[in-house]
């Protein structure tokens, strides 16, 4: 069903950024989610950024309680959730105050006037209502009595309390915005049917509020026209909208399916990783086992135990959890068993900013263990890319019998974008073989099993699981003799084993780094990793549109690095590395390649804006001119 017709003027836009902002209890994440779904159904490309406090319900109406959801959608490919909203929906004074600085003059603000009471204004330090004191003159303000109109529209629902009616105001707002941007509401109606199917009156009230919002836009003169954003030209295919955590969960399941091994997740709840535990625990039909452990250490221990038994063992966490899992990652390095460790990074140190994003765990996962303890590290770049990154993590873990760290972050985890759903037959990977027979002969010529006899190409040891007759062996964290796996304190053996483990990880096959330099004339390279992919790509696009040449490359593999990375770095007069940390990749690059890379750093708990990075690139270009 397409969007209903409107009697008002229709303007066509190429892109829009909308931010829904309100109190934590106002349902802004749900509103944003639904609007995203409607937008995806329209065929626009899009990117989203939820931003919410760590407190489940901070005091009502206060600045710490503000929760927001930003959506960028366009008729062309979208790389970021957008720097600045074109439309801010402010459900209360706190939402206005917390977000106004991000809203450029000339943009539209829809404010819920019912909440602009003296008391609520005072809570956030307004002495006068900004809706009335002229301070918002430079913006297009639409004052809408969202709450009271919603309550009025639901007058016939006599079985509902006023509070219950008020709660539907987010659906009113969604209806209004859906009208403004000619989004179809049928998906939301179906969603509400499912969510409130058991409570008919609540369902009917929400549907009525949604329609009332739509009709409000259509009938009041305050809104002169509606807007259309045409579908973006996207490659043919079947699409769905995914968050990073959803895509990552699907990638793990798909990889285990291709490997022909069961997936076992051992995990302890932690923001922003818990959604992976939730998603996987609902995928039992796909043979997925999830175990919610007593702590982070048990989470990874369970995963490692399952891997020892022949499963694809996975543990999911965030930075504080990695700190607790470090010793077990080291054990897995020594045991040389497959293990996937997913780190959804958040602001640190310590508890830090649980719901905000950061990229500051890179050095922790690289080096945060005792002894020489190398592990492959890969990073996801966009929400949808979390799928491919998860599949790659499982590939490396199972092929090389090693723990692999997969880095994502809070921005990717909760952000969403359309994903072209791959065909199962096109997925990488294939059956993973377990050891089934002795692999050597002893001095008497009898067949024996040598648990640390390596594949000459990959240096991987056999994955021999309990239950396999004739391969009984013991493994452990004490240094083992090369080949036999017996305990060994021999100095030369330890030296050799350290080098073998390092050589194995260094030898993981990694594709060469591809550089995006359309003109071929660039003298400046912008190199990134992880979730800075979108902002960097958007910023280089902005700079290139001015006629300047700039090269761009993004690292999927952080350990080992692509073989051509040193050569790529040396090709440019300047290499700029934007990171949401204080220069962790830069430190690795400098140490590895002796190249004077330059860090652009921001640790604000938010992704880079396109404008910020475009400025950095432009000023670097000035320097080398």
């Amino acid at each position: 069903m397409g969007p209903p017709l409107t009697s008002k003027a229709v303007q066509t836009l190429d892109r829009v950024v909308i931010r829904f902002a309100g109190d934590s209890g106002d349902g802004m994440q749900l509103t944003g989610d639904r609007f995203t779904s409607e937008t995806a159904a329209m065929g626009n490309d899009l990117s989203t950024l939820p931003n919410f406090p760590a407190e489940i319900r901070a005091p009502q109406g206060t600045l710490p309680g503000v929760s927001s959801f930003q959506l960028h959608f366009a008729d062309h490919d979208v790389l970021t959730p957008g720097d600045a909203p074109d439309v801010l929906v402010a459900m209360n004074p706190a939402a206005l105050k917390a977000n106004l600085a991000d809203v450029p003059r000339g943009a539209t603000i829809i404010a819920n006037t019912d909440e602009f009471t003296k008391r609520n204004l005072a809570k956030v330090g307004y002495t006068e209502s900004p809706l009335e004191d002229g301070s918002l003159e430079s913006w297009h303000v639409h004052p809408v009595a969202l709450t009271s109109i919603t309550v009025e529209a639901l007058a016939e629902f006599t079985g509902l309390t006023r509070k219950e009616k008020e709660r539907a105001k987010n659906m009113f707002a969604l209806g209004l915005l859906s009208w403004m941007y000619t989004r179809p509401t049928s998906g939301t109606e179906a969603f509400l049917q499912k969510k409130f199917g058991g409570r008919p009156e609540i369902l009917a009230a929400n549907l009525a509020a949604l329609t009332a919002g739509w009709n409000y836009g259509e009938t009041t003169e305050d809104f002169a026209s509606t807007y259309v954003v045409q579908p973006a030209p996207m490659p043919p295919g079947t699409y769905r909208n995914v968050t990073g955590n959803t895509a990552l969960s699907l990638g793990l399941v798909a990889a285990a399916h291709r490997a022909g091994r069961p997936l076992v997740l051992g995990s302890y709840p932690i923001t922003p990783a818990s959604d992976i535990l939730h998603a996987l625990s609902s995928m039992k039909r796909h043979g997925v086992t999830t175990i919610q452990a007593e702590d982070e250490i048990a989470g990874i221990g369970i995963a490692l135990g399952a891997s020892y038994g022949g499963a694809v063992g996975v543990t999911t966490t965030s930075g504080p959890g990695i700190a607790l899992k470090s010793e077990t990652i080291g054990l897995a390095v020594s045991l040389e068993l497959p293990l996937v460790v997913v780190d959804i990074q958040r602001g640190g140190p310590s508890t830090g900013l649980p719901t905000k994003t950061e990229q500051a765990d890179l050095l922790q996962v690289m080096f945060g263990r005792n002894g020489e303890s190398p592990v492959p590290v890969i990073a996801a770049q966009t929400p949808a890319d979390c799928f491919d990154a998860a599949m790659e993590a499982v590939r490396i873990a199972t092929e090389y019998r090693t723990p692999v760290v997969l880095l994502s972050d809070g921005y990717l985890a909760n952000g969403s974008e359309p994903w072209s759903v791959p065909g199962v037959e096109d997925l990488p990977g294939g059956p993973v073989e377990l050891a089934s027979a002795p692999n050597a002969t002893d001095e008497k010529g009898e067949p024996v099993f040598r648990p640390y006899l390596r594949d000459p190409d990959t240096l991987a040891r056999p994955w021999a699981v309990p239950g396999t007759a004739g391969l009984e062996h013991r493994i452990g964290g004490i240094e083992k003799a090369d080949v036999t796996g017996d305990i060994s304190y021999d100095p030369d053996n330890h030296d050799r084993m350290v080098r073998l483990r390092a050589g194995k990880v260094a030898g993981v096959t990694v594709p060469d780094l591809e550089v995006d330099d359309p003109s071929g004339d660039a003298r400046v390279l912008v190199l990134g990793w992880g979730s800075t992919y979108g902002p960097i790509a958007a910023a280089t696009r902005v700079v290139r549109n001015t006629g300047a040449a700039v090269a761009r490359a993004h690292l999927r593999h952080l350990n080992p690095f692509p073989a051509n990375l040193g050569e790529v770095l040396r090709r440019y007069d300047r290499v700029v590395v934007p990171e949401m940390n204080t220069g962790q990749l830069a430190l690795l690059l400098r140490g590895t390649y002796l190249v004077d890379v330059r860090t652009h750093s921001s640790v604000r708990g938010l992704p880079f804006t396109t404008v910020e990075l475009a400025d950095v690139i432009s000023s670097t270009l000035e320097e080398v001119r």
Binding site: A40, A41, G43, G187, P231, M234, P236, G237, T238, Y239, R240, V242, L250, V253, A254, H257, V264, G266, K284, R285, H286, G287, T289, I291, A293, E294, I297, A298, G301, I302, A303, L304, G305, A306, Y308, G309, G310, G313, E327, T328, G330, V421, P422, G423, V424, E425, P466, G467, A469, G470, L471, E472, H473, R474, I475, G476, G477, I478, D486, I487
Partner: protein
């Protein structure tokens, strides 16, 4: 044919492949690895190792389906000396690793070997949660009341006042009673044995292995180097009888030689106390306590565990509790297999494709 669930206890080894009838008889040798045993001379661990190696053939299991997982400490070297599958892991974490293994592999008999420091100090959290979940594991807790591998510091079972390298003026740390702790965590099988009492140890091990759920066996073990003689009063034949309380299901709980036997009674206040046989017969001091490890309520077993004291005046030995409760791993597997069966069998490519598509897709082109 209809099947009726009689609620019969299910063996902990139910899904573990047994040797075919025509297979040759296993011996202790089959379970002895080629590794040189490296405990100190006179260590109680040798005795336990010999008992386990000679007991394992009695289970009649395929050797490759037995796994020993250990943590860190002297006792945790155990897996190296058994020719089964084995993992010597990290300090305190063996129950967690074993939980992952046992849950994903119902065909394995999974054993955890741990010590008082490993299980009760650094790994205390994993131990209580394994017990609470009732994962199908057999945990052997070697208690020597000392840290041996780190050369002699007090442990969470060292008695108050014990002088060790790290407590030169005597330990002020209140010790755990491992049996009480396990019962508090609602363990479904809890037993205690002496390393030196081989027959009793083997009987307890067999019951523990066949128990479905987490079985905790505390084994008193002598450390001849750092805590020699900790259990001497229990080994000394002249004192043994007066101190060891042998728990026998269905029997009164008694201690002492025939001419000086004391019987456990429960007084009106609920407190348990040993009284003379004569007093027990009259019932004037309370009702005779009959040991019943199958009681659903763990209170009586807990009370019996409290007869113990640092002076070892009365030390109960044997099976404190043995009840049937659904195991965590069985329940987890049932949910997965139930979902798989309900969907018509293991997920194929088309099922995966459906999962990837989700519920809300659109098509371009």
């Amino acid at each position: 044919m209809t099947t009726t669930d009689l609620g019969m206890p299910v063996s902990g080894l139910q899904h573990v492949p047994h040797l075919p009838d025509d297979a040759g008889k296993q011996t202790k040798r089959d379970f002895t690895s080629d590794q040189e045993v490296r405990w100190c001379p006179g260590c109680g661990d040798y005795v336990i190792l010999a008992a386990v190696q000679s007991f394992l053939p009695e289970l009649g299991l395929q050797r490759e389906n037995i796994v020993f997982v250990s943590g860190i400490g002297c006792s945790s070297r155990f897996p190296y000396y058994l020719d089964t599958y084995g993992m010597h892991s990290i300090h305190g974490r063996a129950p967690a690793i074993a939980t992952g293994l046992a849950t994903s592999r119902p065909d394995l008999s999974v054993w955890v070997v741990t010590g008082d420091g490993d299980a009760l100090s650094i790994g205390g959290n994993h131990l209580i949660h394994a017990l609470r979940r009732n994962v199908n594991l057999t945990i052997l807790l070697f208690n020597n009341q000392i840290y041996g591998l780190t050369k002699g510091q007090y442990s969470p079972t060292s008695r108050v006042g014990q002088v060790t390298k790290s407590s030169p003026l005597g330990s002020v740390d209140a010790p755990f009673n491992p049996v009480s702790l396990a019962l508090g965590a609602e363990a479904t099988f809890v037993a205690r044995a002496m390393e030196s009492d081989r027959d009793e140890l083997k009987a307890v091990l067999k019951a523990a292995a066949e128990h479905r759920g987490t079985a905790l066996v505390e084994i008193y073990q002598n450390c001849p180097i750092f805590n020699d003689g900790a259990f001497e009063v229990l080994k000394d034949r002249s004192q043994q009888e007066a101190r060891i309380v042998r728990l026998r299901a269905g029997e009164a709980i008694t201690v002492g030689a025939e001419d000086d036997r004391k019987v456990l009674v429960r007084q009106g206040s609920g407190v348990m106390k040993f009284v003379s046989e004569a007093e027990a017969e009259t019932g004037e001091k309370g009702a005779v306590v009959v040991h019943d490890p199958a009681l659903d309520d763990p209170s009586q077993a807990f009370q019996i565990s409290r007869l113990d004291s640092p002076e070892m005046t009365h030390v109960p030995m044997g099976v404190f509790r043995q009840v049937s409760r659904p195991t965590y791993d069985d329940l987890v597997r049932a949910q997965v297999s139930g979902a798989v069966d309900a969907a018509g069998g293991p997920a194929g490519d088309e099922d995966l494709a459906e999962l990837l598509r989700g519920r809300d897709t659109w098509t371009v082109g």
